[in-house]
Amino acid sequence: MADRQHKAGASGEAPASAGWIRIHPLTVRITHWINVLAILIMVTSGWRIYNASPIWDFEFPAGITLGGWLGGALQWHFAAMWMLGINGFIYLAYGIFSGHFRRKLWPVTPRAVLHDVFEALRGKLAHDDLSMYNAAQKAAYLGLILAIIVLVLSGVAIWKPVQFQELTALFGGYDFARIVHFAAMSLVVLIVLVHVAMVALVPKTFPTMITGRARRVA
């Protein structure tokens, strides 16, 4: 479909100059940036909501939370959940039906992930060809997708523990679903921090998520 990574230079939405290849389809770029905004709102408002009744012996500094007070944070959270959910649904549907996931994120084996993580730690990041993800990236992106799915489902479970009580039971009941929700948030934040750090280390990847194009590797 619109996923043109293997047809670099073919006629398409991007000007097909010889030195450029298209690596991020438009749908992926749009949903990526909407997701950035949605996650930012959901996480920062969620921290404020957490502060109203902390699970553990710490609170998030008010300055990095959104909403001003519990009621305001809840308004942000329950407004942005639609942005996160609808955008995520479009992304997943696109990724599955266009073959985008299969091409970019699959296959991924534990051995290859360990190998590439080790390489990355040695400073030999195998990401010269921006159209190809290394195994560590595949694992991180798949992990992020799964973590957000768990985050959304556990969120629904604590939002509707009566109407969706089977889902809540699946997460170990209302109180445990809160812990799952928190853990999934922590994992998402962790992966995002690593992701942003990696983009900072390989800055040429940044404009590609806006223009969709990258310089062809010689």
Partner: protein, 259 residues
């Protein structure tokens, strides 16, 4: 562009020139431009006050909350029951919670008390506690979930609210049931929820008459809604088609707040 040309431009660009290898400036400039464009929204949001105090944003958030009311009303079903628990699951002690501290709990004189009825109700005769205790009672052990996130399991007994609404001839085609309380609290619920089989006009907690800290003389127990939709110290109730809101709801908590 020669070196001199570069210096006559902004200080920032000179710095960039110093840092960047020749030929990269254009790309860096473009990247910065894109970065700025993209983070404008993020920046505005992170500076906090700008966005959260903005009237237009506030309006959107309230509109989304009204939309969420409709979604939750759609999800709600009168045959969908809140889970009930064994006595061993009851949280002890059951937490006190109100918009004030426990030392400010209102004391209501039970002997003088009469529940006032108004609005779209056929028989508006006020009810004494004695008369209410004499009605058929039901009991439930359900989870109270606070908007703050904590939860606790308690046991309440009292008059099934739908039976009471039928007894007083409430117009059950009306939209809302509203409550006014001795502690100046007020709230309202949708008629669908009012008619849910587990919605209870609670008169007892455990085996005791509802103690003041849990809302004497009566509390509306709604296990399908968050805790703040369970008004305590109810003095008056009314049936209406006009939106009522509530103490917390008017400040921004979602009105429906279904569980």
């Amino acid at each position: 562009m020669n070196e001199q040309g570069g210096r006559t431009r902004t200080r920032g660009l000179v710095k960039l020139r110093d840092l960047a290898a020749p030929g990269q400036i254009e790309r860096i400039e473009r990247r910065l431009f894109l970065k700025r464009g993209l983070t404008l929204g993020g920046l505005a949001m992170l500076t906090g006050c700008d966005v959260t105090d903005n009237a237009a944003v506030d309006k959107v958030l309230w509109a989304m909350s009204r939309w969420n009311d409709r979604v939750q009303a759609g999800l709600f079903s009168q045959t969908r029951l809140a889970p009930e628990y064994p006595e061993s699951a009851i949280t002890k002690p059951f937490p006190f919670n109100a918009y004030y501290g426990i030392d400010e709990v209102r004391m209501v004189d039970g002997d003088a008390f009469k529940l006032e009825l108004s609005g779209l109700i056929r028989d508006k005769k006020p009810w004494t506690l004695r008369d209410l205790y004499a009605l058929p009672q039901a009991s439930q052990i359900t989870r109270h979930i606070c908007v703050e996130g904590w939860s606790a399991i308690g046991q309440w007994s009292g008059v099934p609210f739908r039976d009471f609404l039928a007894r007083i001839g409430a117009d059950t085609t009306a939209k809302y049931v509203g409550f006014r309380c001795a502690d100046d609290y007020y709230s309202s619920i949708d008629m669908e929820t009012a008619l849910h089989p587990q919605t209870l006009l609670a008169l007892r907690y455990g085996n005791d008459i509802l103690p003041p800290k849990y809302g004497f003389p009566m509390k509306l127990r709604v296990p399908t809604k968050l805790g703040f939709k369970n008004p305590k110290h109810i003095m008056a109730m009314f049936v209406t088609n006009a939106y009522v809101g509530g103490y917390w709801e008017d400040q921004g908590y979602n009105w429906f707040s279904g569980s």
